[in-house]
């Protein structure tokens, strides 16, 4: 009961943050709003017992993506250009897509339903066997790091490449200017 | 002994709650960055400290208590650093501290 109330309040704060992020025109403030959004979303993930997702959200949402957004703002300037087009058509498209997606969720099994197909396939095997086969106490970790280890290795290679690419982009404008490096401080 | 620890834990939690609410109200109501920073620092140090101490007492003598105390130590080191950095950045920016009308 208490947890439901906390979830509802968090969802309301999340919606307020999202609307504020859309309405503000100072990009620095929008970056702050995204940081707050990540914090609130991460608490909701924690409440849903998705601890690994909460870890990722904390590391990526609060830490790295804020830093990357700020680095971008440092390159492109702080103010959003005023929008010149009408936003009615995009709004209609978004509302229609959202309604279709909500309609699509009506046929899905309930959250945590043990009879759902996703819980009948390989999940019982992993849950019963992973402690003996891998020796890890957390099933999610054993699936990610052991059963699908090569998968995760490939993902890491992709993320590493993306990180190198972003760093190369952000470092493009750095020029050597001996003797001037301390002037900004 | 156990009952005394429970009562102490509850009292600490309530004290922390009170300071958190005071800090939050100050963050909302005070007139400029520096006064709001002053209010928020109360929450970050005293409120967080009391709440975490209360939780550590509720946890009992275990690894969990050590983790909570580590969290308390990290927050006690990092929150004032962040507040100081924020005040420094704010005073390097265009903001001047808010003064009473008579002092301007």
């Amino acid at each position: 009961m208490l947890i439901e109330a906390v979830n509802i309040v968090l969802l309301a704060l999340l919606a307020a943050t999202a609307i504020a992020a859309v309405r503000l025109h100072d990009l620095f403030a929008v970056a702050m709003m995204f940081g707050i959004y990540s914090l609130l979303a991460a608490v909701m993930f924690v409440l849903l017992d998705a601890l690994d997702v909460a870890f990722t959200e904390a590391a990526v949402g609060v830490g790295i993506s804020t830093v990357l957004m700020l680095a971008t703002i440092g390159l492109v300037g702080r103010h959003e250009l005023p929008s010149t087009h009408r936003s009615l058509l995009p709004l209609a498209v978004v509302v229609a897509t959202g309604a279709a997606l909500i309609y699509g969720t009506l046929d899905m099994p309930f959250f945590g339903d043990p009879g759902a197909p996703v819980h009948q396939h390989v999940a019982p095997y992993y849950i019963s066997q992973s402690p003996h086969q891998t020796g890890l106490p957390n099933v999610v970790t054993s699936v990610l790091a052991s059963y699908r280890g090569y998968d995760t290795l490939g993902e890491l290679a992709v993320i590493f490449t993306a990180g190198v690419g972003v760093l190369a982009l952000l470092g493009l404008r750095r020029r050597k200017r001996p003797g001037k490096h301390r002037t900004a401080q | 002994m156990s009952a005394a620890v429970d009562i102490l834990s509850a009292v600490l939690l309530l004290v922390g709650t009170l300071f958190t609410l005071i800090g939050g109200t100050g963050l909302l109501r005070l007139p400029d960055v520096f006064t709001r920073l002053h209010a928020a620092s109360v929450t970050d140090t005293l409120g967080a400290g009391a709440i975490l101490l209360g939780l550590a007492l509720a946890a009992g003598w275990s690894l969990l208590m050590g983790k909570i105390l580590a969290l308390l130590l990290i927050m006690a080191l990092l929150s004032p650093s962040a507040a100081h950095a924020l005040a420094r950045a704010a005073i390097h920016g265009i903001r001047r501290p808010w003064l009473d009308e008579a002092q301007k």
């Binding site: 702050m32 | 929450t43 969290l71 950045a89």
Partner: protein
């Protein structure tokens, strides 16, 4: 019972900080509100661990949050003070032109 009161107070304070982040006239108000919200989030996760009854897992997350939140705040402050993340090019560019 006490934990419930603390949890509600933390939620109320988070709402106050969010209002300040939305209203906040200057950048520094928003940074301050975001930082305060981060602290409240850490406290809330720690308290939630005791409410739910599995504090061991939740405390680890809270520990990680407080460290990452500090990195985020310092990065934000560097940008707000120097205009970028520490490479001094934009200031020297402005002075040259």
């Amino acid at each position: 019972m006490t934990l419930t009161v603390t949890l509600i107070a933390l939620l109320v304070t988070m709402a106050f900080a969010l209002i300040r982040a939305i209203k906040g006239p200057t950048v520094y108000d928003r940074i301050l509100a975001s930082n305060a919200l981060g602290t409240k989030t850490v406290l809330m996760i720690a308290v939630l661990g005791f409410v739910v009854g599995d504090p061991e897992l939740y405390i680890d997350i809270a520990l990680m949050y407080v460290l990452i939140g500090f990195i985020g705040t310092v990065a934000v402050l560097k940008v707000s003070e120097f205009g970028n993340l520490g490479q001094p090019q934009s200031h020297t560019d402005a002075e040259d032109t």
